[in-house]
Structure formats: structure tokens, C-alpha cells
Subunit: 362 residues, 2 copies
DNA sequence: CTGTTAGCGCATTCAC
DNA sequence: GTGAATGCGCTAACAG
């Protein structure tokens, strides 16, 4: 029929391409034609394979330039059965701690020519499960995850599908995977011990739910510190919940509204700390006269509340970098035994001049 | 030859799949065989297409279940020539403002069955260019970007390639695209006007570089406020730089070390504000006795420094949601004229009890 | 060294 | 309603 047009020709032909420069994407075939070589040669040149004459190499490079060619990663991924994308599943993108981790991971991935597919589960197990499935469907080359709970069945499916996985910040129980953690127990223990040494006996705890290892471990540190000094662990002084600002606000409010409120409070992460500050502030209470705070403040953003505040700087950058490296390692040696890297947080207890601080914020 | 094995059969066959349940991913063909239908039918069922008998539909669904089948998004993307992934390129993932935007975008995308491919350019034009190219190569269905500069050539290439793009927070000049912005000029003008009305005449400015429209606009608001009150604009009191904490620290330090330091400082975003607080703190200066701060604090995290601090809550959630909606709109109607949505920030000037504040942080 | 060719897993004509 | 066949763009054998 007259109307029978070779669509491929029309759409890929160089002359026509000139007419619609804005819509079309050159294909490898177009480049090959332009350079008068085969597609295989183009592919070889672009993947930096050896055994191509300089002559052809240059012709190809010119053609690529002229056509503004950009190989389709989708097609490539399908063909080689893997992508150069890392999945990163965090449980709360607004938590400055994870924000810092995201940055570190992105950085490290960039250096290794990988890119990052970020998902935010918002501490929601269903969303997490959905995203894990998505990661598998997208054929990501590996997944870094801060688990929402310690035993989601999806974790197992993921590793059983042969996808390299590394857990970050939190531990998972139902399957053996690489993980990079922070020594929360000892950090929490030291913070609370500090309070005890200052004479506090009624110390409140505002920490994340024990569903995550993080919350559980920090609570454990708290308990250990009390035990070590023969102080009673009073359940009414312990509050656990989703580690976000709103919850920190609520939980601290509850503690301060007790008939006999704590004289000091230990908070489990930066967002909980901000919430706690807000609750204290609302009640017109003073720090440290009315209540002392010993807090995780990963980003050290609350520096000007010192010396009331005790700070833990977490090794977020190392955490992210280590995670990426473990992932890449496993991609090369899938049978390598699982590792558990535990990083030490830098405890930074501020005790400097009360007077100077008052000056700044009064 | 005897050894000639149909590899596909071996790897896809149901019986063999049973032997290596952990490694293999079922393919559409496996499902078709299991359900004793054609691959076309499987595809139809899974895409929710009509015209499939309930009989076959159920058989397919069962097979999918049994084989734990998960269609390859990569293959699908290649076939249909588009993915359901949105690219999100932010200029600083650690900036709490963008963090909130990321969350909003992720949320909105999730609701529209899309996922988010996040990149962090770190205010680096080269990295930004690289990531834009990557987006095109990955065939994302659209890109939301907070431009690092107001005229990167890559922006034009992107829209010319037919990719829907929406700029967020910052304006771009060299190509017409949808954008969703915040009314920075008037917000900054009101903040600075507030300072002027309190009697300040030497007001310092610590804002982002004028390379981004954001920095430029906030600076413009500052200048307008001074002009409106016939106050001189003193260049030595204006500092611009990369809008991050370290820079805010440096720039504020410079201002406070002047022979005649400003009596008030206007800071252009949350990170600059934190840096400024640190610089002020280091010098043992008091707020508001020694210096007053009028600051953008998008997340309202510095609430307890009030009343010295003036706060602007930015509509981050609307910003992200609007961006996604514009993107989806353009995907359906590529010829739609460009829109520019300007959102109003909520100015929240705190003037409440100095006494009560002192109580909290003293 | 270089070209030819055969799929990667899926969606979509087009026949039946 | 359903199935067989084609090709999305690319890489990896294999053959020259």
C-alpha cells in the first residue's frame, strides 16, 4: 500500500530527526548509521570496551555528539538484567538524622557511579512492604533500608530474591543481613549516667517505640544506667512512641503533668527532643532549673540550649558510606558472610558556663 | 546435539523454579503456562483490561499468587516507552525546607501511583547537569527540580526532549516551564519592615546567593523595606552565599565583627539562621539585647528563641503537592500553556512575653 | 578488530 | 474473548 511507511526509518532517520529535534531521542541504530558502523561497535565504544580502532571510535563519538545521543538506561537494564540504581528506604525523611544519612548515601553512590531511588515509609509497615516490592520490580541493584519494624516478611522475600540488602541504624531479626548500626545502648547509658551523677533520681524517658531496635536499645541503656546506680525503674516515667516531634511533645507533656514530674528527662532522638522542648516551653518551665534534658541531638542543632542539653553526634556520614560499601561488596561476592558494623557515637556532654548561655537566649 | 538444552525452559519451568525458589523471578511466560493461557491474557488481566472472562481471570490471578509473580517494571517501561517514576532534583537535601518538600512530593506521588527518584545536587551545577541527563536516560515521566542556577542549559534540553518539568521554589529564566514559587519578596519585605518599625537602622542581611531567584528575591524584599522607610542600603551589611549553615555562620560572624555591627540581622533561610545563631552564640552576644534576629525558619524549629526571632512558615506541603499535580497535568496535555503558581508564606511574627522566654532557656 | 543476530520481559497489534 | 507474533533499545555471543 502507498501508505505503508517504515515507521522506524521515518522516526529514526537523520533527515527527519532534523525536523523534530525536540521530540526524538536518537537510538543506538541512528548513531551507528550516522557513523557508518554497526550498533555493536557503538555499544562497545560507549561502554569503554577495548578492541575498537581509534578511527571508528572517533567516528562514533562524533555521531553521538551530533545526534546528542543518550543511551536508554531502561533498555540497558533490561538487557544486562541489572541497573546501577540503589534503593534507599528510610523510615522518616523529615528526621534530620536520616536526612544526613540520605545525603551520605547519595554522595557515596555518586562516587561509585550509582544513583539513588529514595522512598519514605513514614514508619508505615504497609508502605514499606509496597516499596520493597517496587524495588524488586524495578530491578535495583541493592537496597539500603532503615527498617520500620524488626521483622517484616518483605525483608526475607527481598534477600531471597537475591537482592543485596543492608539494614541501617536499626536491626532486623527475621533474616540475616548486613547491617550498620550505632552503639545506642552505651550512648544512652552514658547520657543517663551523667544525669544520675548530678543527683537526679526521678528521670523520665521519652524514646521511640521498642519496635525498632533503636528505641529498644536506647531504652535499655536508660534502664542499665538506673540499675547500675540502684535506682528504681518507674514505668510511669517511661514513654515510648513514634519518634517524631509531635509524639515527643505529647509524651513529654504527659511526664511534666504528672503529680510528681521527673527532674530530668532523657530523649531518644532529635525530633523527640524538639517536641520535648516545645512541651517544656509551653508550660513556662525553665531549663535546667525546673527540668534537665539529656538528649540525642544528632545534628547538634540545639547547641544553644546548652548546658542543659546533652548531645550525641551520630556518625551519619560514615553510616551512609559504610552502607553503600557493604552493598557493593555483596554485589561482587553474594556469598560473603553477613557483617554487622557498629559505629560509636560521639558523646558530647556540655557543661560549660551557664551564665554565658543565659546571655544568649534570654 | 544431546547437550543442547532449551535454557529458557530450564530456567522458567515450574518444576525447576521449585528447586531454586530463592533466586528466580517468575516471568509472564511462567504465569501463562501455569494458568494455561497466553501471555497476552496474563498481561490483560494484570493491567486491568476488560474483555477477559472471569474464568481465565481467576486462573491467572491464582497463578500469579502461586508463583509470587512480580512484573518487571523495566521491561514494561521499555515496551510502553514511559515509566511511572518522577524525578525529583533538589539542591540541598539537608535543608529542612527541601526535606519537607521531598516528603510532600513523595506523598503526592504515592497517591498517584508514582514513585520518586531523588537526586541531591548540593548546589553544584555540574552534578545537576549530570542528573538531568540521567533522568532523560532513565525515561522518567517527569521532573521536579529546585534549580541550582537560573539558567542551566540542561533545563532547556530537558523540556526540548519532551519531558514534563516543573521548577520548584526557584525561578528559571532560559526556558519557559511550569513553576511553583513562594512569594519571597513580600515575606522578606514584611520581616525587615518589622525590624525598621522597631527602630533599627543598621540591619544586616545574610541571604542566599542571588544566583537563585530565592536569594535574589529575599534580598530585594530587604532592599524594598529599607527604601520604603528612606533608610540607606549599606553594602557592607549585606552578605550573600551558599544558603547552608556553615555559610550563615561565616557571614554572620563577619557582620558582627564589623567596627560598627548591625543591631539587627535578617537571615534568608533556616540553615542560615542556625549558622547565625551559632556565630552570635560564640561571641557571647545576647538576643535581643545585643542583636535582634528576623529570620526565615521554615520548619519553625527555633520556636523557643522567640520573641527575638521572627518566623516564616512556608507552605512546603502545598508546594510539593502542587508540583506533582502540575506535572501530571502536563503529562496529559503537553501543549498546555505554562503556569506559574505563587504561594503565600505565612508570616508569624512572635512578640510574646520576653520574660517567659527567658525562663525557658536561661 | 568488526558486523550479524538473538534475545532481555513485557504490551500490543492483528488474526482467529 | 483469546492467542501468536512482533518489537521497544540495547548488549553479548559468535562469526567473520
Amino acid at each position: 500500500m502507498f501508505c505503508e511507511i517504515d515507521y522506524t526509518e521515518v522516526c529514526s532517520g537523520f533527515h527527519v530527526a532534523h525536523l523534530f529535534p525536540s521530540i526524538m531521542q536518537a537510538k543506538i541504530e541512528d548513531v551507528a548509521r550516522q557513523a557508518a558502523v554497526s550498533t555493536a561497535t557503538v555499544s562497545r565504544v560507549l561502554s569503554g570496551k577495548p578492541y575498537v580502532s581509534d578511527e571508528l571510535r572517533n567516528r562514533v563519538l562524533d555521531a553521538v555528539q551530533k545526534l546528542n545521543y543518550r543511551p536508554s538506561r531502561v533498555a540497558r537494564s533490561l538487557r544486562v538484567q541489572r541497573s546501577s540504581i540503589l534503593g534507599l528506604i528510610v523510615s522518616d525523611i523529615q528526621n534530620p538524622f536520616f536526612t544526613a544519612v540520605v545525603r551520605a548515601v547519595e554522595d557515596a553512590a555518586y562516587q561509585h557511579k550509582h544513583s539513588v531511588f529514595l522512598c519514605n515509609t513514614d514508619e508505615d509497615v504497609e508502605k514499606e512492604t509496597m516499596y520493597i516490592e517496587l524495588m524488586m520490580a524495578e530491578h535495583v541493584s541493592g537496597v539500603i533500608i532503615s527498617p520500620t519494624s524488626s521483622h517484616n516478611d518483605a525483608y526475607r522475600r527481598l534477600v531471597e530474591a537475591g537482592v543485596p540488602v543492608v539494614a541501617i541504624d536499626r536491626r532486623v531479626n527475621n533474616v540475616e543481613i548486613d547491617s550498620v548500626l550505632v552503639d545506642n545502648v552505651s550512648a544512652a547509658r552514658r547520657l543517663v549516667t551523667h544525669l544520675v551523677e548530678q543527683g537526679h533520681t526521678r528521670i523520665g524517658a521519652v524514646v521511640g517505640t521498642p519496635v525498632h531496635s533503636t528505641g529498644e536499645e536506647r531504652l535499655r541503656g536508660y534502664v542499665e544506667a538506673l540499675h547500675a546506680h540502684d535506682l528504681p525503674v518507674r514505668p510511669e516515667l517511661i514513654r515510648t512512641g513514634i519518634p517524631k516531634m509531635a509524639m515527643g511533645h505529647t509524651m513529654t507533656g504527659e511526664l511534666m503533668d504528672l503529680a510528681e514530674p521527673p527532674t530530668a528527662i532523657f530523649t531518644g532522638n532529635a525530633l523527640l527532643t524538639i517536641g520535648a522542648l516545645r512541651a517544656i516551653h509551653e508550660r513556662g518551665l525553665r531549663i535546667p532549673e525546673d527540668v534537665v534534658l539529656a538528649a540525642f541531638d544528632e545534628m547538634d542543632w540545639m547547641f544553644f540550649v546548652k548546658p542543659a542539653l546533652t548531645v550525641v553526634a551520630q556518625p551519619t556520614y560514615d553510616l551512609g558510606r559504610t552502607a553503600v560499601e557493604l552493598l557493593l561488596q555483596r554485589m561482587e561476592r553474594p556469598d560473603r558472610p553477613c557483617q554487622e558494623v557498629v559505629l560509636a557515637p560521639t558523646l558530647h556532654i556540655r557543661e560549660s558556663s551557664l551564665r554565658r548561655m543565659a546571655a544568649v537566649t534570654a
